[in-house]
Symmetry: C2
Subunit: 668 residues, 2 copies
Amino acid sequence: MRIFALAAIATAVLALVFAYAMTAWVNRVREGSDQMKDVAAYIREGAMTFLKREYRAMAAVLVALVLLTGFLVNWASAILYAGGVVLSALVGYCGMRTATKGNVRAANGALSSGLSKAFKVAFRSGSAVGLCVAGMGLLGLSAAFVAVNLATALQCVAAFGMGASTIALFGRIGGGIYTKSADVGADLVGKLEAGMPEDDFRNPAVIADHVGDNVGDVMGMGADLFESYVGTIIAAMVLAVASGSGVGFSHMAGVAFPLLLAAAGIVASMVGILFVRSREQGNPAQGLNLGIYIASVIMAVAACILSKVLLGGFRWAVAVGAGLLVGILISKITEYYTSSDYKHVQHIAEQAGTGVATAIISALGTGLLSTVWPLATIAIGGYAAFQFGDLYGIGLFGVGLLSTVAVTAAVAVYGPVADNASGIAEMSGLPEEVREVTEALDTVGNKTAAASQGFAMGAAAMTALTLFLAYVQVVGIKGLSLLNPMVVMAIFVGAMLPFLFAALTVGSVERAAKLMVEEVRRQFNLDEGILEGSSQPDYATCVDISAKGALKEMVAPGVMAIATPLVVGLVFGPEILGAMLMGVLPAGMLLAMMLTNTGSALKNAKKYIEKGHFGGKGSEAHKAAVVGDGVGDPLKDASGPALNIFIKCMAIVSLVFAPLFAAVGGLL
Amino acid sequence: MRIFALAAIATAVLALVFAYAMTAWVNRVREGSDQMKDVAAYIREGAMTFLKREYRAMAAVLVALVLLTGFLVNWASAILYAGGVVLSALVGYCGMRTATKGNVRAANGALSSGLSKAFKVAFRSGSAVGLCVAGMGLLGLSAAFVAVNLATALQCVAAFGMGASTIALFGRIGGGIYTKSADVGADLVGKLEAGMPEDDFRNPAVIADHVGDNVGDVMGMGADLFESYVGTIIAAMVLAVASGSGVGFSHMAGVAFPLLLAAAGIVASMVGILFVRSREQGNPAQGLNLGIYIASVIMAVAACILSKVLLGGFRWAVAVGAGLLVGILISKITEYYTSSDYKHVQHIAEQAGTGVATAIISALGTGLLSTVWPLATIAIGGYAAFQFGDLYGIGLFGVGLLSTVAVTAAVAVYGPVADNASGIAEMSGLPEEVREVTEALDTVGNKTAAASQGFAMGAAAMTALTLFLAYVQVVGIKGLSLLNPMVVMAIFVGAMLPFLFAALTVGSVERAAKLMVEEVRRQFNLDEGILEGSSQPDYATCVDISAKGALKEMVAPGVMAIATPLVVGLVFGPEILGAMLMGVLPAGMLLAMMLTNTGSALKNAKKYIEKGHFGGKGSEAHKAAVVGDGVGDPLKDASGPALNIFIKCMAIVSLVFAPLFAAVGGLL
């Protein structure tokens, strides 16, 4: 085992070196004019400050969980939990640093040499983050298997995932609240009331808005994918041992396989990343997709080889391949329902011509409908994976889906960097033709954003599902007794929890946004020079308000996600907890998809109209679509993504404390 | 057994006689002026025509289901199925007739003698419908136990529920689409584009809108409650036999108890109905609530007596009492989240001052949150019922919840009658002070509407849940194996189905509404005299468009609800079907609550502003709230309520065909 773990570590280190090289390359690009530097510095400072404040705010919860894990499970788990926390936090830190350095350099790349260079800077920034996600994840997991023996490592490794989960939980919730409060403040007062265009430097909330993109879409998304990545590997390992006895390979091989798949995925992703480029007149979106496709093909081949060599047959590779395929399919399906290239978003845009209400109803219908095929592909893929590889096959299905996370995360993080670049170009008053370039980059980013969200949701669902299956194995429940109505009630109550969680996050965004709205209004009233452009607005206070709001509002939903499985598992025992999870998972996944895709569809319907359809900018349809976007925004950037982590967090907390629950058997 | 069944029949007949007396009393009230008569005749004709067309459109499905039941289950079931269909259809017919006669008479009551009389007419119309619901339900069920012996009756009685379910399914879906397409057409073109007030006779869709209130809120709601009523009684009977062996009473007593509870509930409801009245200056809402409370108290006492006499102990009465209490609690909780008397709706109204987006987001948050306590009360009540009465206790919990359906349905149907009365007063140009009276009636109706919807949702959830438990008993699955990932996938896919179903209904409303919008615009363009009030619009074409749209669009979601359990049960076997239902039920229930309550909250926020808050009518807040209401309307009147039936229909189809599924064991 140790030799495999060492090989995985070597690959992880390679990924981190590669990431460092990317960052170094980005850093060597010049920042541009003093004004650009200033704007970028505001954003970077705001982002890094928030990160530090968030980590500090979480400290108490983290320490409590270390102690809880130590006393209730064992101290090796507590150490691994801390490791998961630290590495995930490091991913967040590096990611934010890279993204907030890449943004201004991408803008300057557009200024100094054009689309190709700007795209390269933005994508390399994203790639550094993507490789960091995969590298840190694999490094941490493999290190556990080098440090202690197989049996001990297996017992504790779930705690590493819980560490990743805690950071992701608060990162996604806090990030979502941050970005949306800033966004709503900037849009509602700056754009609607004062009639400013997007990214106007006179808007006091504009810096907070850009910080928010980093906080939500870089840190939040990165932590989310990091958690899914390590979570699926951990689940596959546990399932290998659970179902590995009768399937012709050793526990060791079964545990090593996911690690080596992950290592292969990193190599495949690096190759894919190198293939991503955009010609001066080309379509950058094609370049991004090409990278993902190349990585997937290489990964599929590698899975076949590893499966044959390590486990003695190809059938395990089928499960991995199913995961790869389903990952791509879910992204594509999400794109179909949320991109203006297809009929649903175009229909919403058309309905906006009739009024706000019809557009929103239409988008809600689309959001509801968009859940169907992702669910179906997961069910069909999962069934195939089970046929070929038993329960372990479902674990491998999840690993396959996430194996190329480095490149998918790279594409996801490209988006906010490009968005920031476009904003910096605007705020620094760069020439029209440069802003056209950065806007083109941003458009691609908006397009990939929905697909990336789709991927992240599918990944979260598979992570939660495989962790749940692992939990079932560890606590040794064979099934949910339907003769016990407590079980049925637990499923019902479980299904309700995502609704409660979503309600809490919606309320949080609302309250935080209100403070921001008031602050922006206050600044406009206090100093008329701001609107005239003669005096500078107080960006820092807005940044501070977003941060304070996010930190305060993330506590309740965050604690709910961690405490619920703990309390239910202890009080009602492992079977009732399992039943509750069986309610939480599907409802949470579906609600996340519905809310997120409704929001994305509304956003892209607005963009579609802005391109000149149905009357274009300033038309009645456009006004309606702007309102629709305002409804969709908190759904797609705060509540929806936070639900991803909610379901994963509940599953992993259950898995970590499973031995305790099984031993206690329920206090009631 | 036969003696108990005969007693139940006698009570049912008494209820029907009482209902007839109420109708006769209403019919003796004068209709008022010729203009009032004309308007009322338009509405009545539209409503009755739609009813006939709908029943005709369903004929093929009904015949197919009779044959399917006959060939696949047995012919006694087929006959009972037909009985359920006929009685439910009769309830719809009588309900529509009474309501469309009561509306104009309530308006004339307001004209000739004031609030007290108008209220009396509207509530007696509602009472006739409520008593019809309970009387027909109990009559049909009891007749089965008179006609054949206990064992045979038990085997077939579920088919009676399926008959009720089929009518309810198409009634709710078709009714929802009808009412919302008319409503959107009337509002969007008439009110928003042409600037007409509510219920303006120049609006071509105004008659269709009033027909829609009857189709959706009288026929739809009546069929829904009828189905829940018979469904819970059936489920309790099946569970009596399943868990009755070790509990100290005979099968016969266990089966007779729910029938006698229902009979007692009818008597209790009649007393409650007699206590409902409103003084000239009083608050009619208090009168309505008083009726429900009195009926509940009498019912609780009766349950204790029956439990002691028939089953030899009081503990079964606890389960019944829990149901009564939970029914009231869910109504109250729904009211708390959707009435302008409480903070949530007031907050939405306040948010409307900031804009449409913030109001809708706030309402969505409220809708999500409103699911929590109903779910929790059902879980706690169900747990208590189980502790006191085992599985049978849960069945009795459902029976208790629905036992006083006659009075709750009376209150629910009061709403659309009052709404129609107010519209007729407006369209007939009755004096201002009369319109104030009818508007006061309508306001009470709007208030009780949300609570009635809440009750209907809770009832539907309990019905589906108890039918599911009965299904589990009949097919004899002990639990859901979590070692079989097919089971887990089935739960996930099951949870997705309500989202698909809701998406279908949203799309249906959208398409049907579009046709109506075009028609209203066409009429305005064709003849300028309509806007000036000099020529009469073509009401009939609008009524026809609503009907056509509803009949066409109800097919796909309706067939989906019936066919899915049949296909899944046959192909994958009873365990997978059970797992699927375990996904469908909670997701469907939660989604129904969320959508319905979001819509109700938005509607009442609008009404709150119209009362003069936050700027009152014509203010920016009001405009925003009107848009919000446009979003909420299809959710609360079409998609949400249709989901109630969806979950019940899937559960009862599964129960009816359970023996077949168990025998086949899955073709795959």
